[in-house]
């Protein structure tokens, strides 16, 4: 007997941006296959697809889709915007860089978009199943992308390392999730919180172990110390365009699920995860900032700096307050602009046959191209946290939220490590302005690249001068949570 059921197409409304991006990703492969001469259109198609999806995400009404599997609320909207913004900016920058390092373009854009779909699903996940599958959908294309550029021996090693570590972290995460499921009998994140209070599980050792496993898994995904060991090698081995992408988007998506599980699913355990995260945040900032001091490669230095910035963002998360979460989200938006901007300038230094990733390559950049040097200066100032850039305001909100929640020692540590970070960021500035250039060839800035650099500069300075609007936006987005 076959029973026909009318399909309710309106149920698809919460996933329309994701469906659009899947369509574009498939279209990109078709384009690459059948119209090889029009390959220069691929990045623009990607950008248009992402911009449309961004407009859809920003214009969407808050909705609960698929019986609680998907929560397309304000919280998801902010993180979706960060991930979409990352892909838009990196795609704008990619055109010339891909040509320089001879990267295969069709698959690159398509896999990036599919990874983006995974991130959007992670940001909106309302159920542990959606969360985990979104995570895998995000991670798998990145494993492939890291290994896509086969000319370089380092990339294969980076891909293998990333893949093994990522698989291992997923296993730990799944173990934690299965324990939570066994204890509460549900995978829906909001219901987990209800069941924990109803069954008085807060002091149950099994639940605490599950919390520990979840924190470990998420710690791997956002590259928090001591689970950061894969990060420098992978970030250095991957093509720079991908490093820029990886250091922002998956991290933001990781923070999205981190915040969702802790704030929506396990708020009753804040007494436990607050201090644990405080220790992790301190350790992450210490490892990131101190190890970055002794790097000779600019790319590796930025990799360690991205570890340190995950530590700063954790400061907001550990408070357990809405203000703290809003501060972390605000910081991630600013981090998007400043980090992508710094990587964009790094990418400008690359030339055919020369990586241009070491500190020596940026020596005398001010003489070669004053504009690029000035932009790098702004991005580095912002990463250090010097006013009037966005990085300063973002860090200020984070420290304020953590201080208000009573984590004074952590705040003192964060300020100290932030001061240490000034040394290695400003050292680059000194090299750019005080030293003689080693290379004399002219930097080639493509139109897409200048657009991306302009957007990053606008983001860093605009958010630094008018920070209130962004914080209001994230707070308003959280009001429904």
């Amino acid at each position: 007997m076959i029973a026909s059921v009318a399909v309710n197409w309106t149920a698809l409304e919460p996933v329309l941006p994701e469906l659009l991006l899947i369509g574009v990703a498939v279209l990109l492969i078709g384009f690459d296959l059948f119209l090889p001469r029009q390959r220069q259109l691929l990045p623009w198609l990607t950008v248009i697809g992402c911009l449309t999806a961004l407009a859809m995400v920003l214009g969407a009404r808050p909705a609960i889709g698929f019986g609680g599997m998907l929560l397309a609320d304000g919280y998801a909207m902010v993180f979706k915007s960060i991930c979409l913004g990352t892909v838009i900016l990196t795609t704008l920058m990619s055109e010339r860089f891909c040509a320089v390092i001879n990267l295969r373009q069709g698959e690159y854009y398509s896999l990036t978009l599919l990874s983006l779909v995974g991130m959007l699903l992670m940001a909106a996940a309302g159920d542990l199943m959606t969360l985990y599958l979104g995570l895998e959908l995000m991670a798998l294309p990145i494993y492939a992308l890291v290994g896509l550029h086969k000319r370089d021996g380092r990339t294969s090693e980076a891909a293998i390392k990333y893949f093994l570590m990522g698989g291992f972290a997923s296993a730990l995460l799944l173990f934690g999730m299965s324990l939570v499921y066994g204890l509460t009998g549900t995978t829906e994140i909001a219901r987990i919180a209800e069941e924990i209070t109803a069954r008085q599980l807060t002091a149950n050792p099994a639940l605490l172990l599950a919390l520990g496993l979840l924190l470990t898994g998420f710690g791997f995904k956002v590259a928090a110390a001591p689970f950061h060991l894969w990060t420098p090698d992978v970030y250095e081995g991957a093509p720079t365009i991908l490093t820029a992408f990886m250091s922002v988007a998956p991290k933001a998506a990781g923070f999205a699920v981190f915040g969702r599980v802790l704030y929506l699913g396990l708020p009753a355990l804040h007494d436990q995860w607050g201090p644990i995260l405080a220790v992790l945040a301190l350790l992450t900032m210490a490892v990131g900032n101190i190890t970055a001091l002794c790097q000779q490669s600019l790319k590796r230095m930025l990799a360690y700096s991205s570890i340190a910035h995950a530590g700063y963002a954790l400061l907001g998360l550990l408070t357990g307050t809405i203000e703290g979460l809003a501060a972390a989200m605000t910081y991630l938006v600013m981090y998007l602009f400043m980090n992508i901007g710094a990587f964009a300038v790094l990418m400008l230094l690359a030339a055919p046959g020369r990586a241009g990733e070491s500190l020596d390559d940026c020596k005398g950049l001010a003489a070669r191209n004053p504009m690029a040097a000035a932009l790098m200066l702004v991005f580095l100032f912002s990463l250090t946290g010097i006013p009037p850039t966005g990085g300063f305001i973002g860090k200020f909100y984070l420290l304020k939220a953590a201080f208000a929640a009573g984590y004074t020692a952590t705040v003192v540590g964060a300020v100290l490590f932030s001061a240490i970070s000034a040394y290695f960021y400003l050292r680059v500035v000194r090299y750019m302005y005080m030293d003689e250039p080693r290379q004399t060839d002219v930097l080639h800035v493509s139109p897409g690249m200048s657009a991306a650099l302009g957007l990053c500069l606008l983001g860093v300075l605009g958010l630094g001068v008018f920070p209130g609007s962004l914080l209001d936006w994230t707070l308003a987005a959280l009001s429904g949570m």
Partner: protein, 194 residues
């Protein structure tokens, strides 16, 4: 009683064959250990009254996917072992952490309490049959995760193809790299099986 002994046997064999699968030197032996693992997984599903899943486990995993693994092993030449430097040189640190985790897991077992039961009790499943219940749930409640799973397979396909394709004018030096290419697709299934 029989169920408990059977469960204990399956769990023990899964652990043993899992450890052997990652510690044996010969890749073909490793794959055979994974085969043993898959069969005992199917046994576990039987103890849960999930006979359809047990059949799928044997037909799809033990039958199809494992043969695929073997094909891959024969296609790529694995004469040279890929060697990566460990992040932490001393293996005992890892062993101590793993032992600690195992001890912690054993320690929390007595405190474990079972959460609320879902709507599909054994009686309910017996009424509508297991396969039908599975299908209904998969295409209604779990439609979104199911579709994401499909998308993950598409990604594995595209990623695998992109990695395995030789660049125009690529040199033979890449041959060693390509030994690593089928990994993402393979282990994708491995993770799904867990």
């Amino acid at each position: 009683m029989f169920i408990q002994i059977f469960f204990g046997y399956c769990a023990l064999m899964i652990t043993l064959s899992g450890i052997l699968a990652i510690s044996l030197r010969n890749p073909v032996h490793c794959v055979l250990m994974v085969l043993v693992l898959f069969f005992h997984m199917a046994g576990l599903y039987l103890t849960l009254n999930a006979e359809f899943l047990a059949a799928v486990q044997i037909i799809v995993y033990a039958g199809a996917i494992l043969v695929l693994y073997l094909f891959v092993l024969f296609l790529v030449s694995l004469r040279e072992e890929l060697h990566l430097d460990a992040f932490i040189a001393n293996p005992w640190i890892g062993r101590v952490i793993a032992g600690g985790l195992a001890a912690a897991l054993l320690y929390v077992i007595p405190a474990f309490t079972l959460g609320e039961k879902g709507v599909w009790s054994v009686e309910a499943i017996k009424q509508v049959t297991h396969t039908k219940a599975l299908g209904q749930e998969m295409y209604s409640t779990y439609l979104l995760p199911f579709e994401i799973g499909g998308l993950i397979l598409l990604v594995a396909l595209i990623g695998g193809l992109a990695l395995a394709r030789r660049d125009e004018g690529a040199t033979e030096a890449n041959a060693a790299d390509e030994a690593t290419t089928p990994l993402p697709a393979q282990s994708d299934h491995k993770e799904a099986a867990q």
